[in-house]
């Protein structure tokens, strides 16, 4: 063989270079061509948080029709299951990105979301957090992480304000509370926020005892016995669905009905809580980020949920998961590209005023946090969720004290 045939000539080199350049440029060209944005949707669809993860999924399911009615682009959802586990959340975030996700949304749990945020930042893919309260997530100087959900201090601030509003309306307030909380990232962050902020808000009660427990606990009889032994007027709780149901059952069995259950977090308003416990689910008040039932988009969400999932009440899980996808679609429309940096820039300049949650709308500060959200207060009554605070979003009055568990048929 003649060795000269082995060497590329200048024409071959040019052709090869052009081919390589075309290959490298292809994704950019494709990115600019439009089509649905690929959104990696990370939720705890199995494991101990599966109930809430599935509830968030309902928010995903009702999104396409509403986005279309708002004239926003279509999204292609790629599902990922965090299995209620931090390590799995990290692995699945990486997998979704390698599978082509151009933006991530998730993941309900602060610990899991923290892990996903690290991956998103490292890979340069925008993450829009639907639900997660740990403040650290938006304190790391991340450029690709955005949160349309209150931080633990914001939750606490609004929780205290809404509680005081309720105490003013009913003209009564507990003098002592037993503080029961999960011992995970969220529960610990809330505990710190309570300790730091309670004196500033001049709350009418003191914490008789703080009782922390595993969020995956199978039995909370000792915890409830301990809380009951404090003789507190009310229970202040930061938990989730699993423990909300366990605590309620133990309250009934141990024949203790406190004046009020004041929840600052999820669990007590979940559809599964209401359906599983029936009349025993009545009474607890949740001071959480909520939706304004008087807003136009809230009504659209209620209608869409009623059509797809009859009998299920619209709640925070649906609204904030929807709003995270709304932010993604809005940013994609304005960016006109799936380029991650362009998307992140577009998310950063979000200004949605016609939203569903309580407050003036969705925009992000320099840290990627929507700091304009206002928390609400709701009470479980007759299988429905009544908004009791703030006054401008309320559609009912609070009932105080709770009806004794023993007097319910």
């Amino acid at each position: 063989m003649n060795s000269t045939h082995m060497l590329p000539n200048r024409r071959h080199l040019l052709a090869g270079t052009a081919a390589i350049a075309a290959t490298v440029a292809a994704p950019a060209i494709l990115r600019a061509q439009g089509g649905p944005l690929k959104v990696g949707m990370l939720l705890p669809r199995s494991g101990f948080e599966a109930g809430i993860g599935q509830d968030c999924q309902r928010g995903v399911d009702i999104t396409p029709g509403i986005l279309k009615s708002l004239g926003l682009p279509e999204l292609t959802i790629i599902n990922g299951d965090t299995e209620s586990n931090v390590d799995t959340a990290r692995e699945h975030a990486e997998k979704l990105i390698s599978d082509g996700a151009q933006l991530l949304v998730g993941a309900f749990d602060s610990g899991q979301t923290t892990a996903i945020a690290q991956v998103a930042e490292q890979k340069g893919i925008p993450l829009v957090i639907n639900i997660a309260g740990a403040p650290d997530i938006t304190e790391q100087g991340y450029k690709f992480v955005f949160r349309n959900f209150p931080t633990a201090p914001m939750l606490t601030r609004d929780g205290f304000l809404a509680q005081k509003a309720v105490f003013d309306i009913v003209g009564k307030a507990p003098k002592t509370v037993a503080f029961m909380r999960v011992n995970d990232t969220f529960g610990t962050a809330m505990s710190k926020a309570f300790a730091a902020m309670m004196p500033k808000f001049n709350m009418p009660y003191t914490i008789a005892d703080e009782i922390s427990y595993d969020p995956a606990a199978r039995d909370l009889s000792v915890e409830v016995t301990k809380a009951k032994a404090t003789n507190a007027d009310a229970i202040l709780v930061v938990g989730r669905l699993n423990d909300a149901m366990l605590i309620t059952r133990e309250l009934v069995k141990q024949r203790w009905t406190p004046q009020a259950i004041l929840s600052v977090g999820p669990g007590w308003y979940e559809d599964q809580y209401i359906k599983t416990l029936g009349k025993l689910s009545d009474g607890p008040m949740s001071f959480v980020p909520w939706y304004d039932p008087n807003k136009k988009l809230s009504k659209a969400l209620e209608d869409a949920l009623a059509a797809k999932y009859p009998g299920i009440n619209l709640n925070t899980n649906h609204v904030y998961t929807f709003e995270a996808l709304l932010v993604a679609a809005d940013a994609y429309k304005r960016a006109g590209s799936t380029d991650p940096k362009a998307l992140a820039d577009a998310v950063r300049t979000t200004n949605i005023t016609d939203n569903a949650s309580i407050g003036p709308g969705i925009s992000f500060n320099a840290k990627g946090q929507n700091d304009k959200i206002i928390g609400g207060g709701i009470q479980n009554r007759g299988g429905k969720l009544i908004t009791i605070a703030p006054k401008e979003a309320a559609n009912g009055q609070p009932v105080w004290p709770m009806k004794s568990y023993q007097d319910r048929a």
């Binding site: 199995s46 494991g47 599935q54 009782i211 427990y213 915890e223 699993n242 059952r249 599964q272 599983t276």
Partner: protein, 290 residues
């Protein structure tokens, strides 16, 4: 805190411990004879729990009534599992057995997830929220029934192994595999029978557990771990040991939750396990293996 608080917590701990003991009993029975460490224990219990849930939600059959039928179904399942799948692995290296049962556990969890979904399911009996008030002590009715079932099942198993010919033959297999073969015992059948009995215990435990906890596919691995802690503490292969191990862990968790912090309950349970492994490796009632 008054004495009544300590009494309430101690009683709750004892009842929970007995239920734990019932849950771990099947694991101890299977290992005591077949020498297969069943890493699918909690997952098998999940199957029984789902059977109880389906029977209740479809036909309103009370778990207390269905205890024996579900145990019988699980006996057949365990017998078939041992005869068809596990028996060929009896003489293989332990890591092969380990991988087999772990694979089985994963299959069960995922099958339950596909069939029933991830949502928690519950059995709402008319007495689900009942409790007995005895002076200052409030006793959970469901836990009391489950604890009573634990004692009855343990006593029945103990009597079976102690006083029946079949039970003695199974014990002979456990004591000396080769000797049992030499005297003409059908060891494979006896092993399958034992696995079936272990599975029946798991079935009884799962049925009773539906009275006190919600059922999800993800429950299995947690219960497997807990069962191991209990039987290693009580003595692997010892039936009374399983009950005592359960009692010890239940009581330790309850009192640790009261006296220290509920967050540290599991830490104390594992602390007991470490102490047992250090000072009595065969467990409280276990026999020293040679």
């Amino acid at each position: 805190m008054g004495l009544d608080v300590y009494l309430n917590v101690a009683v709750a701990g004892v009842l929970t411990g007995l239920v734990y003991g019932l849950m771990a009993l099947g694991l101890s029975v299977i290992f005591g004879v077949v020498r297969v460490v069943n890493f699918a224990h909690g997952e098998m219990m999940s199957i029984a729990m789902y059977i109880a849930v389906v029977l209740f939600s479809s036909f309103h059959l009370d778990p207390l009534v269905m205890l024996v039928p579900i145990a019988a179904v699980m006996f057949v399942f365990g017998y078939a599992l041992q005869a068809g799948l596990i028996n060929p692995f009896i003489t293989r290296p332990e890591h092969s057995q380990f991988l087999l049962v772990v694979a089985l556990a994963i299959i069960i969890v995922n099958a339950l997830l596909i069939i029933f979904g991830p949502d928690a399911r519950t059995v709402q009996t008319s007495y689900a929220y009942d409790s007995f008030e005895i002076g200052p002590v409030i006793v959970d009715a469901s836990k009391t029934y489950a604890a009573a079932a634990a004692i009855v099942v343990t006593a029945a198993l103990f009597a079976f192994f102690r006083f029946t010919l079949l039970g003695k033959a199974i014990r002979a297999c456990a004591d000396n595999y080769t000797g049992a073969l030499v005297v003409g015992l059908n060891v494979n059948r006896l092993y399958a029978l034992t696995f079936g009995l272990g599975a029946a215990c798991v079935g009884a435990a799962g049925t009773m557990m539906t009275l006190i906890t919600d059922v999800t596919p993800a429950l299995g691995p947690g219960y497997t771990l807990l069962a191991f802690v209990i039987v290693i503490t009580g003595g692997l292969g010892s039936m009374p040991g399983a009950l005592i191990g359960g009692l010890l862990i239940g009581l330790t968790e309850a009192l640790a939750g009261l006296l220290f912090t509920p967050s540290a309950k599991s830490m104390f349970a594992f602390g007991i396990l470490v102490l047992v492994l250090l000072f009595r490796p065969q467990g409280i009632l276990g026999r020293r293996l040679t």
